[in-house]
Symmetry: C2
Subunit: 208 residues, 2 copies
DNA sequence: TTTTTGTTTAACAATTTTGTTAATACAAAA
DNA sequence: TTTTGTATTAACAAAATTGTTAAACAAAAA
């Protein structure tokens, strides 16, 4: 028996379901397709997870930590000095998003239109407040010392999220649009974006 | 008869359908719901548009120009000097996206996963190439004169798109996340973002 | 007025998708 | 080696969703 076949059917269903839900959304996903791709009868899917909704909920809760980190990691390590903290926060956030490129689109297409369904998620993200206030303090201190310019942390975080997430979501689209003009491939493009975000944020906070 | 009632049923269906498709996506939209919200029997919907798909296609082609502008406007007016061209391009692009906030999410959730369905769209966007090359030339010239730093236009456009689009898509989410800490409302937040994008791009291209 | 054309409705049909069940195989424990 | 619980299948049922039709109706044309 190969490694693949050793996996329990339950596990197989979960893996296929994750990829289906993330790429097609809840409404676009067909339980029979999940079953078929997992190589099981679709009755098995209902046997293990009862309904499509419960299967979906299971996937979400399995991704709970990852989703939290997807936002929290951008705040960086508060032990480090400000500049390092930002560089490190941006880089690790970028890597996390790049490693899970379907997740942001999923959040945008599923969480935003159904906020009631994800209240638990929003609650969890309240823990961001502490780190947020903390980061604003670091910024204000550094600004007082004349090291950097005083900036609003909400604006700064929004910029970082935008610059990191959007290109990963839409790299296909951008590369296709500009086409042969630039001859980037996707890996090069993403590597360049990671540096570009850091560069832009650094320029944003340095005193003129 | 009121203004509303004077509208043809066909027009009513189209308006409701647009809002439904844009907020819930193709898969999440129910034709009976469209009919119900438009105050007509759902047979009418089929009478005018035959199928759900044809209704959808009709909406898309009606939005065709807008969708094109959604990308093209960021390139600005090539008659203007570079700095003005960028400022104007960023601002008008921001305004366009802000006036149609559901469209970008729709593009991300419908166009990206079904590229075959929107080939005509991608073709149209080929017209971006001319303007793109043109903008790179302006940048190179200004850089040669030492006015600005030499930057890659693909990176620059990606940054502008990211900084303009992402905050508009996810303003709800961001505001909720940071919550009472900053007491921005959505209008203030978006106004601030528009300026912030311009500021960041200007800092990115100025020589240190 | 009669005809014609396009609009509207209600009832129904077809299809797609999800969910259930009863029978059976299987594996592990007693 | 019976027993017990779990896993599996095929066939079926139910629900949801889309699409059709025939007949009524209204408006405009002849």
């Amino acid at each position: 028996m190969s490694e693949q076949e050793k996996k329990s059917k339950e596990q197989l269903i979960l893996e296929v379901a994750e990829s289906e839900f993330f790429s097609k959304g809840f409404d676009g996903t067909r339980t029979v397709v999940i079953a078929q791709k997992a190589g099981v009868t679709h009755a098995m899917l209902h046997y293990y997870f009862r309904t499509k909704e419960q299967l979906f909920d299971r996937i979400i809760s399995d991704k709970f930590e990852l989703i939290s980190q997807m936002v929290l990691s951008v705040l960086g390590n508060s032990e480090l000095p400000l500049i390092e903290r930002l560089r490190e926060g941006i880089a690790s956030h970028f890597d996390l998003v790049a490693a899970n490129p379907l997740l942001p689109r999923f959040l945008i297409t599923e969480m935003l239109p159904h906020p009631e369904r994800y209240h638990f998620m929003y609650e969890k993200l309240n823990s961001i407040r502490q780190l947020y206030t903390d980061l604003q303090k670091s910024v204000d201190e550094a600004a007082a010392q004349g090291v950097i310019e005083r900036v609003d942390v909400m604006m700064l975080l929004t910029s970082i999220l935008s610059l990191n997430v959007f290109p990963i979501i839409s790299s296909q689209f951008i590369l296709q649009m500009v086409g042969e003009v630039g001859q980037f491939d996707q890996a090069q493009f993403l590597a360049a974006r990671k540096q570009e975000t850091i560069e832009m944020i650094m320029r944003r906070i340095t005193k003129k």
